[in-house]
Symmetry: C2
Subunit: 109 residues, 2 copies
DNA sequence: CTCCGCTATTCAGTGTTACTATCTACCAGT
DNA sequence: ACTGGTAGATAGTAACACTGAATAGCGGAG
C-alpha cells in the first residue's frame, strides 16, 4: 500500500473506523474486510482489533457479544454519544487539514 | 490545536513541508512561522527541524547554508528531483485517503 | 558593557500509533 | 483427523510529533 499511506493512516484510521460505526454497528473482522474491499489493501488484522480495544477503553463505543454461526462469538461495536462527539471533532480536524493541503496543491505550481 | 489534529499530522506534516518547499526554498524557522500563520497554531519548533533532518537524510532535499543578518546561519532547504517524485506519491496517497473519507462522510447520514 | 529579546538550530526523552508475527478458538466439509 | 474460513488477542518494533531544554549570534535598552 506504500509507506506514505501507512503513515498517513496514523490518526485517520481511527476516524475512518468510527465513521463506519456511525453508519451501522459492526465487528472487527467485518470492518477489516470492508477496509480491504475499499482499497486499504494490506490493513493488518491486528491493527483493527487493537484500534477497537483503544476506542472501547476511551468509552467511544458500546460493545455487545453476539454468538455467530461460524467461529467464536463476535464483538459488535456501536458508536455511542461520546463517540459521535469525538467523530465530529475528527471531521473538523480533517476539514482543516484538507483545506490547507488543497491550498498547497494549487499554489504549488 | 487538539489531539485529533496532532495525530492526523503524522504522515501528512512531511507532505505539507515538502509541498511548501516545492513552491520555493525555505529554512526551518521560516517554515515554522508560516505553518503557525496558517493555523497550525502549536506546531513545535523541534518538530519541523526534526522533520527537515529526516527528509535531508533520505535525500529528498538539497541544503545550502546561508549567513543571516540576524542570528546564526540559516539552513535553506530546496526540493530536489527525488523529493518531487516523493511528493507526487504523497499526493496520490492523499487523494486516495481523501476520497475514501469523503465517501464515508456522505454515506454516514 | 551587560542583559534581554529575537532569530535559528539541535537534541534527548516520551507517548501514540500501525505493522509484524504469532497464538487461541470455533465450526464445516472432506 | 485435517484443512480452511471465521473471529479475536497480544508481544514486540518502527515511525513520527511533542516536550523541554540547550546552544549560538545579533541588536537594542538599561
Amino acid at each position: 500500500m506504500g509507506k506514505q499511506t501507512t503513515e498517513m493512516l496514523k490518526g485517520t484510521l481511527e476516524g475512518v473506523v468510527l465513521a463506519i460505526l456511525a453508519g451501522r454497528p459492526a465487528y472487527g473482522y467485518e470492518i477489516t474486510a470492508w477496509l480491504r474491499d475499499q482499497g486499504f489493501s494490506d490493513i493488518a488484522e491486528g491493527t483493527v482489533y487493537a484500534l477497537l480495544v483503544r476506542v472501547e477503553k476511551r468509552g467511544l463505543v458500546d460493545v455487545a457479544k453476539v454468538p455467530s454461526e461460524k467461529g467464536p462469538p463476535r464483538k459488535v461495536y456501536s458508536l455511542n454519544d461520546q463517540g459521535r462527539e469525538y467523530l465530529e471533532e475528527f471531521w473538523t480536524a480533517w476539514r482543516f487539514l484538507s483545506e490547507r493541503l488543497e491550498q498547497l496543491r494549487e499554489g504549488g505550481r
